[in-house]
Symmetry: C2
Subunit: 338 residues, 2 copies
């Protein structure tokens, strides 16, 4: 276990490095922080910290910079979450409140988060699996062609074309629509499969094939988590770090284009509370020099999706975490209201 002072030294190194973007030496450290000891002592402490793998030297005779492990310790033990100020919170709330629909909420959230943290923001659309059904609509487009429209409580709309095995009359369709909605409206997605199980039995034999087809399409739509969408913004902020990672911006941009990678990234983060993944803790190689701060948000007290930011490992963790937490909280409120 490291002594208290050595932890202070590590904290000072992280703070200075995040501020100045330059390796920090023992002398500068004692000048900028009142540690109460001389540079020589700090040097000894630094040597220990380096042995333990918390900091590293880019070259001999340069200052030290924190390693991923150092940031990890900093985040876990040395730094809290910096709360947003009251005016900031009000601004967030106001900005989000003027959203007109779901797309707008997500769009605004992305922009807000990118602006607050000055980093790349990622917001997942409220997930289907945890939401509830508001309404299922069935439209007859042709005798044997039906369009299924699913409307969720988060305002999301999914549509599917269905080719029926047999022609399906308007009245049967109306019947199915009514029965289906009475069963599933207001219910959670997870509960739907059981609820509709015996629905085909109430129909004429000739219609059962079509009913089953419609139902299985509905279930497919519900479980189709792959279809989870997300929105990103603030990629221009990446250029601010061109200094730190010179060629590394490319893999990051590539990763950001791969929605699958991002969804996986958010998916891996813990379900409750804020998750910080630092550098190599990220499974995806292209993001090895970045950190991801993410948190779940939801309309109730349950998370329905996640949002977060991607930035260089050298980021202001307390501030970023504060912004992410605040935005998640207010988005949740907005979703609950609508």
């Amino acid at each position: 276990m490291l002594s208290e002072r050595r932890l202070q030294v590590l904290r000072a190194i992280v703070q200075d490095y995040v501020g100045t973007e330059e390796p920090v030496g023992s002398k500068a450290l004692t000048e900028r922080h009142s540690l109460g000891v001389s540079p020589a002592t700090v040097r000894n402490d630094m040597a220990v910290l380096e042995d333990e793998g918390y900091i590293a030297q880019p070259h001999t005779s340069a200052g030290r910079i924190p390693t991923d492990r150092g940031y990890r310790l900093f985040v876990d033990k040395l730094a809290g979450v910096k709360p947003m100020s009251a005016p900031e919170r009000r601004a967030i709330q106001n900005f989000l409140e003027s959203s007109v629909d779901l797309d707008d909420v997500v769009g605004r959230t992305v922009r807000l988060l990118a602006q607050l943290t000055r980093q790349v923001a990622v917001v997942q659309y409220p997930s289907l699996t945890r939401s509830t059904v508001r309404h299922v609509e069935l439209l007859s487009l042709a005798p044997a062609r039906v369009m299924l429209v699913l409307i969720t409580d988060t305002g999301r709309v999914e549509q599917r074309m269905i080719d029926c095995p047999a022609p399906f009359g308007e009245s049967s369709l109306a019947d199915l629509r009514a029965r289906l909605n009475s069963k599933v409206a207001g219910r959670r997605f997870a509960d739907v499969p059981v609820l509709v199980e015996d629905l085909p039995e109430g129909f004429d034999l000739e219609d059962r094939g079509t009913v089953s087809t419609v139902l299985s399409t509905l279930l497919e739509t519900l479980v189709e988590e792959n279809e989870e969408r997300l929105m990103i913004g603030g990629t221009a902020n990446l250029t601010r770090f061109t200094h730190d990672f010179p060629l590394t911006i490319q893999p990051v941009l590539e990763a950001l284009e791969e929605q699958v990678v991002l969804l996986k990234l958010l998916g891996e983060a813990g379900d409750s509370g804020m998750t910080v993944r630092i550098g190599h803790e990220n499974a995806y190689e292209g993001l090895n020099s970045t950190s991801v701060v993410s948190v779940g948000y939801g309309s109730g007290n349950e998370a329905v999706a996640k949002l977060g930011v991607v930035g260089p490992t050298r980021m202001d963790y307390p501030g970023t975490m504060g912004a992410v937490r605040a935005v998640a909280r207010y988005v949740g409120q907005i979703l609950a209201e609508s």
Copy 2:
């Protein structure tokens, strides 16, 4: 008017510069192209081309590079559109044909275009204004709350919440739904306003307010061109040019994040045929060192939206134009089929 040979020299300069990314000198030019004259002659021609503003020198005693004006002449007079090869065309078609819905079509198109041109691709969602209505659905969510769902022939779905001025019964709603659809289903958006004009008259006095509200929401949705969405992809390709525009990547990324800017950009392009906007021809400042190649695409013989690519002014115009044209054509086909 420039002599034929000077035009050849300009063409050679553009081609070499696009290939090598380096200013091209008179000697290299004669070696790589059989112009039939000596470097000295080429030098004279270059001096003329420079006087006319078609090429420029980054520094004294460096080779020449084309100016925006030079590229313009190249595109207008010296270069054709390079058609895609048969295998390429087949690959495009196959890739697009496996799309499952509109989002997927647009997503695939973006990825395809980015990959083919190795540049940033922008695809506008099929626009509402020129499409036709497939179906209008009205759902009662609460006594005085209706959800309007508009389904277009391109498969796009728009939804709106409507707070009614007075409670509106299920039967009235069904009535309105039926009448509305019989009027507008299959009709072009532009024709809808006239078609629904006298619809309220067929309803009871107490319901007219609500009917009018619903109709005006529908019309709003139809004309709401601002809501036009688009998708971009291939931003990672920008890093390939970090060599050319060192700090210029930032404004480009910023521009790409501003959907408004991009929509305007595509909007400004001509409605028919391919449009190439080179460097400063782009109104938006951040894109002054890029060129935009765009073209309309549509399900019939009429364009319903646009797509294109954004790249450095130093791009392979014939190849890019060929790829853009081919992709637009096949997307159109796919949309027409579905």
